[in-house]
């Protein structure tokens, strides 16, 4: 899709200004129902588009992303548009700088349309934990779009943006991509700079693209990937091509992902996909990942521990919080009240739950039993995946255990919501690149997501392989 639009821009079949206006027109028509966007910035977008048009008019060469309109998950800092992370505690926050990914895309001429909705601080699987509103699934407005990058997935699906950025800590790009029926790519941990991403769980967080096609995901990933001096966990990913022919390519299908609790229609759709892939001469091999059922438990110790530390910075003083203290004489308060009241009132339920849980697993007497135990299991899970990738090239699984659920269906019981990430979370625990592809649709036309996982640093080869699978499944 990006390549086609790029061609149209160079051939002067369409102007960047027209393209941006068209997208705002679709947003005007659709977003009052879908509610994918938290903030729109039309004026700046059009101004940027004019600059691209001037270049084209002068017959200057333009890059592949120049003039392409996109959407940004609202936990990624933009200095021209406010960044809320879906939280009331950041209701008025305007970042003093752009995130590394935003700066890169800006330099390449891509144009931000607006910021998309998410579960507060990216904690959730449905956008129902947003401090503002719930985004609706464009396939069925009664259903959730998935989360936490639900706004980004819905915006791309409803053609309200050419592509969108999301972040993935336990499945937050792939699960909403599966629920909305788009491509969602979670790169290797560290492949994309996290500088300017509002931290949730720093050893798991990754930024990645949500797109209509795998080719688009590749274009965006290439633009945002790379080592950044401002993120010491960032690494350079080698641009390795996928060269193997099908007969030499072994795709592992782990039996632990096809158990009770997996929706029958999803199972059927994935099995059909596997048959089609087999018919194209790829080798399919049943494998076992005995530790994968423990990934989610491991995640629900490590993630809240990191959350409790990362969210300590929201103290009621920095980041423009607006508790009703503004007109009060500050001397009538004390600092302690300010902390307790701000954090108690402005954080939502799920965020508070995770902060308290994280505080618990890190506290004296429980640290060894929970936190350290989880860090040991994490190492074993990583080893299990390393061993697996000595035997197979890729691992194929369903992305989610269920089809998109109804709004309100899982809000009462946190564990039932957490289980939405059961198939995606392993890739975060082990730092692996993983992608969601659309593998088909249910009887009620709800999309079914297929996940392909590869080894650390194998991002480009995974994307190229996924392009082949995408064309097979079409």
């Amino acid at each position: 899709m990006i390549s086609e639009l790029h061609q149209k821009l160079i051939n002067k079949e369409i102007t960047a200004t027209q393209l941006v206006s068209d997208y705002f027109k679709i947003i005007d028509e659709k977003d009052n129902r879908i509610q994918a966007f938290l903030t729109l910035d039309k004026e700046r977008a059009l101004k940027e588009a004019e600059q691209v048009d001037e270049k084209i008019a002068k017959n200057e060469t333009i890059g592949i992303l120049e003039g392409i309109p996109y959407a940004v998950k609202d936990n990624i800092l933009t200095k021209e548009i406010k960044t809320t992370a879906g939280s009331k505690i950041l209701e008025n926050y305007i970042a003093p700088y752009d995130a590394a990914v935003i700066e890169k895309l800006k330099r390449k001429g891509a144009i931000i349309l607006g910021k998309t909705n998410l579960d507060e601080f990216a904690m959730g699987s449905s956008t129902e934990n947003s401090g503002y509103f719930t985004t609706k699934n464009p396939n069925d407005l009664e259903r959730v779009p998935g989360g936490s990058s639900g706004g980004s997935a819905a915006a791309v699906k409803a053609q309200m943006a050419v592509f969108a950025l999301g972040s993935d800590t336990g499945g937050s790009i792939r699960q909403p991509a599966a629920f909305c029926g788009v491509v969602g790519f979670k790169p290797t941990y560290g492949a994309v700079s996290r500088f300017g991403l509002i931290a949730m769980a720093s050893s798991l967080d990754v930024i990645g693209p949500l797109t209509i096609t795998v080719e688009d995901a590749k274009i965006v990933f290439e633009a945002i990937a790379g080592r950044d001096k401002n993120d010491s966990t960032s690494i350079e990913i080698k641009k390795e091509e996928f060269k193997k022919n099908p007969k030499e390519t072994i795709i592992g299908v782990p039996k632990e992902f096809f158990v009770k609790g997996l929706d029958k229609e999803i199972e059927e759709t994935i099995n059909n996909a596997i048959q089609k892939i087999k018919a194209n001469k790829f080798q399919i091999k049943e494998i076992s990942l005995p530790l994968s059922p423990y990934s989610l438990a491991c995640y629900y110790i490590i993630m809240p521990a990191e959350v409790s530390a990362n969210l300590a910075r929201y103290d009621g003083i920095r980041y423009s919080p607006r508790l009703d203290f503004q007109n009060q004489n500050l001397d009538s308060l004390n600092l302690r009240d300010l902390y307790f009241k701000t954090r108690g009132e402005k954080f939502g339920r799920e965020v508070r739950r995770r902060i308290v849980l994280g505080t618990y697993v890190l506290s004296r007497g429980y640290y060894e039993a929970f936190y350290k135990k989880a860090q040991k299991v994490r190492r074993l899970i990583i080893k299990e995946w390393e061993k697996t990738f000595k035997k197979v090239d890729f691992v194929l699984t369903p992305t989610t255990p269920t089809l998109p659920f109804l709004i309100g269906e899982k809000t009462k019981d946190p564990i039932s919501m957490y289980l939405s990430d059961i198939f995606t979370v392993s890739a975060n625990i082990a730092g692996l690149p993983a992608i969601n592809l659309v593998s088909g649709f249910s009887k009620n036309d709800l999309p079914v997501g297929l996940q392909i996982i590869s080894s650390r640093g194998n991002d480009f080869s995974l994307l190229e392989f996924s392009e082949i699978i995408e064309s097979i499944l079409k």
Binding site: N92, S203, I317, S320, L333, R343, G344, I415
Partner: protein, 94 residues
């Protein structure tokens, strides 16, 4: 989970939560802790715990003070609910 324990955790987390929600929180925590306790089924003796998401070694730099650009620090200052000279004004500590 005992009420006392929840209160202690809220104290450490610097959050004020009202009665009814505290009960729900306590129940939720119990069920989550029960769920994550299934890690005890895994033998982890002599396993070195992970400490982060990557296998990179530390990147160090000189610890030199840096001055923010005035435009950046102005944006930050605008976000304070009160300022005095170049400082944030906050309620008294005690």
């Amino acid at each position: 989970m005992e009420f006392e324990e929840i209160n202690h955790l809220l104290e450490l987390s610097r959050m004020e939560i009202e009665g009814e929600e505290k009960e729900k929180l306590s129940k939720d925590l119990e069920s989550i802790l029960k769920y994550v306790s299934k890690l005890n089924e895994i033998q982890t003796e002599e396993v070195e715990p992970m400490t982060g998401g990557s296998f990179l070694s530390n990147v160090v730099r000189e610890d030199e003070p840096k001055v923010k650009k005035t435009e950046e620090s102005n944006v930050l200052k605008e976000m304070a609910f009160k300022t005095k000279d170049d400082y944030f004004e906050i309620p008294p500590i005690f």
